[in-house]
Chain length 402, copies 2
Amino acid sequence: MGRPDRPPRGRRGGAAARRHRHHGRVRGRPLPEAHRRHRPHVRRHRHGAGRVSRAGPGLRGSAGRSAGQRGQRTHMTTAADTPGIVECGRPEEDVRGFRRALGHFATGVTIITAQCEGHLAGMTANSFSSVSLDPPLVLWSIDKGSHSLSLFEQATCFAVNVLAADQLELAGRFARSGADKFAGVGWHPGLGGAPCLPGASATFECRKHSVIDAGDHFILLGKVERYQRADRDPLLFAHGRFALSVDYPVIAREAASPATSTSDQPTMLGLLWDAFTGMSHGFQAERDALGLSVSQGRVLSLIERYPGAGPELVARKAYVSPQGLEDAVQALVAAGFLTVNRNGCWNLTVSGREHVALRRKRAAATEASQLKAFSAAELEATCKVLRALGSEVPVASSGPAT
Amino acid sequence: MGRPDRPPRGRRGGAAARRHRHHGRVRGRPLPEAHRRHRPHVRRHRHGAGRVSRAGPGLRGSAGRSAGQRGQRTHMTTAADTPGIVECGRPEEDVRGFRRALGHFATGVTIITAQCEGHLAGMTANSFSSVSLDPPLVLWSIDKGSHSLSLFEQATCFAVNVLAADQLELAGRFARSGADKFAGVGWHPGLGGAPCLPGASATFECRKHSVIDAGDHFILLGKVERYQRADRDPLLFAHGRFALSVDYPVIAREAASPATSTSDQPTMLGLLWDAFTGMSHGFQAERDALGLSVSQGRVLSLIERYPGAGPELVARKAYVSPQGLEDAVQALVAAGFLTVNRNGCWNLTVSGREHVALRRKRAAATEASQLKAFSAAELEATCKVLRALGSEVPVASSGPAT
């Protein structure tokens, strides 16, 4: 119940992942992620000779291809000037690092459900992908070790519920093993009885098409018999954290400006976006300087706020996946900031408390420095305007209160 | 070249899609999407009898499953109270609607590359998905009609380049067929010579593992031999448009507040987010009232600004995929707002120009109404503060200028 090692894609990790976790916790003490970030280990194999800064002119002009250097056979090189590389390697050697890299591909979040002989299964997954339009096929992957595997094997149908931005609680509930995940959820049966969840951004009712053996997972292909979509913003998952999608910033600005405007005067909406992004980056830079990732910082602050908290509370309050939480905790324990007590809950060490105090001091200093150029009257007017504009936020977009 | 019907997932649509497009353009005049949104067609088959508002108590308490109504066999029902449904149906009957529903699952954006006998292939795809950790497997899908198919079939390796937020131009370039997509891109060869693109958020160098026939696409599985990740925010694709990811809002607020704060006083960062979201929703409500989707409104405004513009310019400036653009244009033509000239470029009709003028007037009125409660001095102070905070935005986050 409440396994902390179940990632949101609905798998508990393969044999290698389990071996690795064991190794990481008991036999080794790996550096926390943030420490590695400041000492990036980038292999520069055959650099220079192997690097092609620009593809040659097309030898064949056919669409969709272009000819580069003929006979190019240099393997495993890394351009020295690729900016901001924080980690690289071979998956077999660091499965956690591999998973962190996979987290750079952002996804939506789904709950996939099925019903067989009156029994229900449902699991949070982000491995959904559309495949074909004719016939309409989609796929997702299920861990061979999943408790729900046999039900999905037996069921002839499944439903893909694409979650909306305000369905974060459901995402967390179906990512854990639990007695009755469907309790209190007003679902209705779709094709083959598979539960369709209310409030989803989209739903795909599928007949199972085929099952493909793929490493420690099975890929399930489904033929979509029926789709449905609602006017709801999607929930996102990126870097092990839940997130929201916003339109590309220039567009937000253009949407608010007259189409024939020749003025360079930004609109209020554009100013708000730029100010939000600018301040966020200030805090991010300060966090980076203190050597913790976003998730690690959140987890540390939450355990200071709720001493003795366990995985479920912290994952929910920090908006990280169970797997993202496990990664963060491992790093914080290795850094000496956290201790694990007998029942698997956490407390800060003295240096953990000192680090939180330092972060708090630096955050206050950062905000003060960002705002120091303004008079009290200017800040008061700004807060008044922002508060009034913000009062128009619909409930579904403002996120659950903590 | 520059095919407008190529979606970002690197497929040109199956036979049914092509048939459907033909039907939609020539034989039928479907309602624009926005018109349908105001007359949602929701099938309520066997409603009431078939609806289960709450799963029954667990008959088996085993983890990962719970027992619901036994023998539940009701198919294709839809809960009447599911909020905000705008479209539903069977994929065979409306492939565009199906594709719109698929767009509700947000994804990152990748460029997948390969090299074979000195020839290069690269295509924008969002069908990437991680599959297995041990062995490390990932997958993506390629249209059987793709120009690049034979090269990907022959190559033994491919590289998955996960794009960062500022790589929108690359995403557009590799989504189209073109003479030399790699010209001027400082790539370097990875495993098997597959081009690794600089500035990517993550890269996976893969050896081809297997190919699965799946409808109008092939699924390519690759074994990841090497991964790399950089400290760069990901580019997103959702609802046919490019987008950015932001942290779940409550977190942005907590990140900026002292960990032990007992005050309910929101921070400046929280105020900025709420104000941005509040204003955005005001504009969204106004757009909805005028009966155009976000993409349709953008396309209309851009063609007013650039009369006679063609697909490439408009897709780039509107931050929509070629497929999203085609959908929007079809709806705007059907609504009588656009005409297509001989060389496939567009101009507004009289009613199109009138609609743009109306939108402009309403947008100005919306902003004026949102700001009317404040004095000139308050607005001046607010703009001064926002402008200063926004000046700290790093270039990579502010998006390309239009």
